[in-house]
Symmetry: C2
Subunit: 377 residues, 2 copies
């Protein structure tokens, strides 16, 4: 089968640089030998730079959703009260997992397209004196909105100093500033297929001292996700069960590329390509879905113009242009399209994507001047 | 970093053929697009040929150990009585997971190096009128013993027609005959890094009709491992959360290679390389650990000769010969070495491994003629 030549512009999995692709094709090695131990150590140290934590970062053979379950089963007990601040599909998924595992979940649901307001979180916490944790999304992949985690965490910490702050940073970490230690976040997780430029299958999670203490009190049963077991193995340069060795080869190379580019330079590049995406969309008369003050630097959601069928648009882009973008999820299906600009991305791919989008929208009958009226949320 | 040129002879992860390595280096694609749906369909159909089942085979971003947890949380409820027939480290792991999740576990522990006796299982089941499941290991990677699953399943089925038979086939499936439907096995699982010639990170699990019914009754909470969610997505050519796309590329190619070679021919090849490994070990005066009637065709455990330090031997093999073998686990550490011969393996690699083993044993002072006395178990 021929390799596909596509401009993959979904918000994950994201394109993989040739150096990383070459690394994952390297011969497999013993996961209990010295070569793997050296990789695991290098990767852990580099990940700490991006999580901005002094705590070890744990790796799991898993998707990002697995880390949601891991956060819940390691930190809580059935009946524990948590506040889930949800701003889209993935915030709802985390809340649902907490419910499945028997936590008492209060949801603060923010209209999709908007970010969570720290004052609203404070008001909600007032009604929850026994809250043990707050579940947050840093970047909501389904809506293209980035929460101000620093402000939210500060508000939560002021109100409930001992509550665990759990942060889904799957599609933000490595692309957008997130300071786990400085902002006193307790559990923060991400996945290889997002900002890390590595194929999916390896998830990473940081655990604060406060969260480590919680793992000892938590009574939910756990084996595969047990943080303690992973930490214990990590100290010996190993994992408790077979790790995705070749994805670690890739992550090792990707993190070295990221180190060479520099953390701040990466954040700036993500802002630059995001600004370009938004500017080009607006210039063509398209409406952005996210509130502008919290528009994501990793994924842009664009309203589907009146008269355009979203599936026909994504199909035309894929088949005629080799550009793959995402549609909306759940109640946003047919309402928005989403363009990913995270990880291995620079201006040319964005310009190529937006050129193709303009051509195919035009082919489907879209006229920029008819669409400048704001659409209702 | 240079690719490592090693003869990887551990019982997983196993070497990856160049065609599979090239496939996993292919550009990532949209996991919700038609290309991935086509791969998922092909892979599922091919896996059914090796599981020998008409049921869909489910894939998870996971190690093999994750499938142990998946089997337990999907099929059982706290307090359910199960019999765990353990013949080594991995059988114990499955039993331990069942205990962690609140099942009432009776262990039938077989001395390491031996296989389970169907009559002993029948006798044990006599004492367990309410048993809901029996946990079995097909091939015990830690001891190099293969259970006669057909005989064990027949015994269990005669005694307890409704009990679920859970089979860890991580290091046997695809290498050794296992007939999920004919033998009435209920949950059977494996991992990509064993007989499938693919790097680790993708686990596969078959679920019988009896087990599907159990998933509806089971009350253990589950999200990531929920069989029902995976089955539902599979019908749409998708997975519930991001799959390890590139490992699927590899599995797709590997399964096509396996189809071309033929199932029976693969089983015969595994028997041939296993026989060769055992014959060469015996010819050099070494003692095999497994009882001969149940010696594994995927991994051979060899007793460390008196006067030889196991770690010095594996280190010398790795550093001087580029041959990587495994030591013993837990109480077998220092007692045995293990040679993997599963997946992408033919006679030359085994002969090279055994040549190297002979050289390094000799260099460490081993003399074949002094070691022909049987060693105590």
């Amino acid at each position: 089968m021929e390799p596909l030549e596509q401009n993959l512009r979904i918000p994950g999995p994201t394109p993989v640089p040739p150096e990383v692709a070459a690394a994952i094709a390297r011969p497999v090695i013993n996961h209990r030998g010295p070569e793997f131990a050296a990789i695991l150590e290098r990767v852990t140290v580099q990940l700490q730079q991006f999580f901005q934590t002094s705590q070890p970062v744990l790796g799991f053979p898993s998707s990002g959703s697995g880390m949601m379950e891991a956060a819940i089963v390691n930190c809580f007990s059935p009946g524990d009260e948590v506040l889930a601040v949800t701003i889209g599909v993935f915030g709802n998924r985390l809340a649902k997992i907490a419910e499945i595992f028997g936590l008492r979940v209060t949801r603060l649901e923010v209209p999709w397209g908007q970010a969570a307001d720290p004052q609203a979180v404070i008001a909600q916490l007032d009604t929850l004196p026994n809250v043990r944790g707050v579940l947050l999304t840093h970047n909501e992949t389904s809506t293209g909105v980035t929460n101000d985690i620093q402000a939210l965490a500060r508000a939560i910490r002021t109100q409930r100093p001992d509550a665990l702050i759990i942060v889904d940073a799957v599609s933000s970490l490595g692309c957008v500033d997130l300071r786990m230690d400085d902002w006193e976040l307790d559990v923060v997780f991400t996945g290889s297929q997002k900002g890390w430029m590595v194929p999916p299958g390896l998830a990473m999670i940081g655990v604060s001292e406060r969260a480590w203490a919680a793992t000892e009190r938590a009574t939910l049963p756990r084996f595969y996700w047990d943080f303690r077991m992973v930490k214990k193995s990590l100290a010996k340069g190993q994992t408790p069960y077979t790790p995705p060795v070749n994805l670690y080869f890739g992550l090792d190379v990707a993190l070295e590329m990221m180190r060479a580019e520099g953390r701040e330079a990466i954040f700036t590049r993500h802002k630059r390509v995001a600004d370009l995406t938004r500017e080009r969309a607006r210039a063509f008369g398209l409406q952005l879905f996210a509130e502008p003050s919290h528009a994501s630097n990793t994924v842009t959601a664009i309203r589907v113009p009146a008269g355009i069928e979203a599936k026909a648009l994504t199909k035309a882009l894929r088949e005629r242009e080799g550009v793959v973008i995402a549609g909306g999820q759940e109640r946003l299906e047919g309402q928005i399209i989403r363009i990913g600009h995270l990880g291995y991305v620079h201006e040319p791919e964005i310009n190529a994507c937006m050129d193709a989008l303009e051509r195919q929208l035009t082919a489907l009958g879209y006229q920029p001047e008819t669409s400048t009226t704001p659409v209702e949320a």
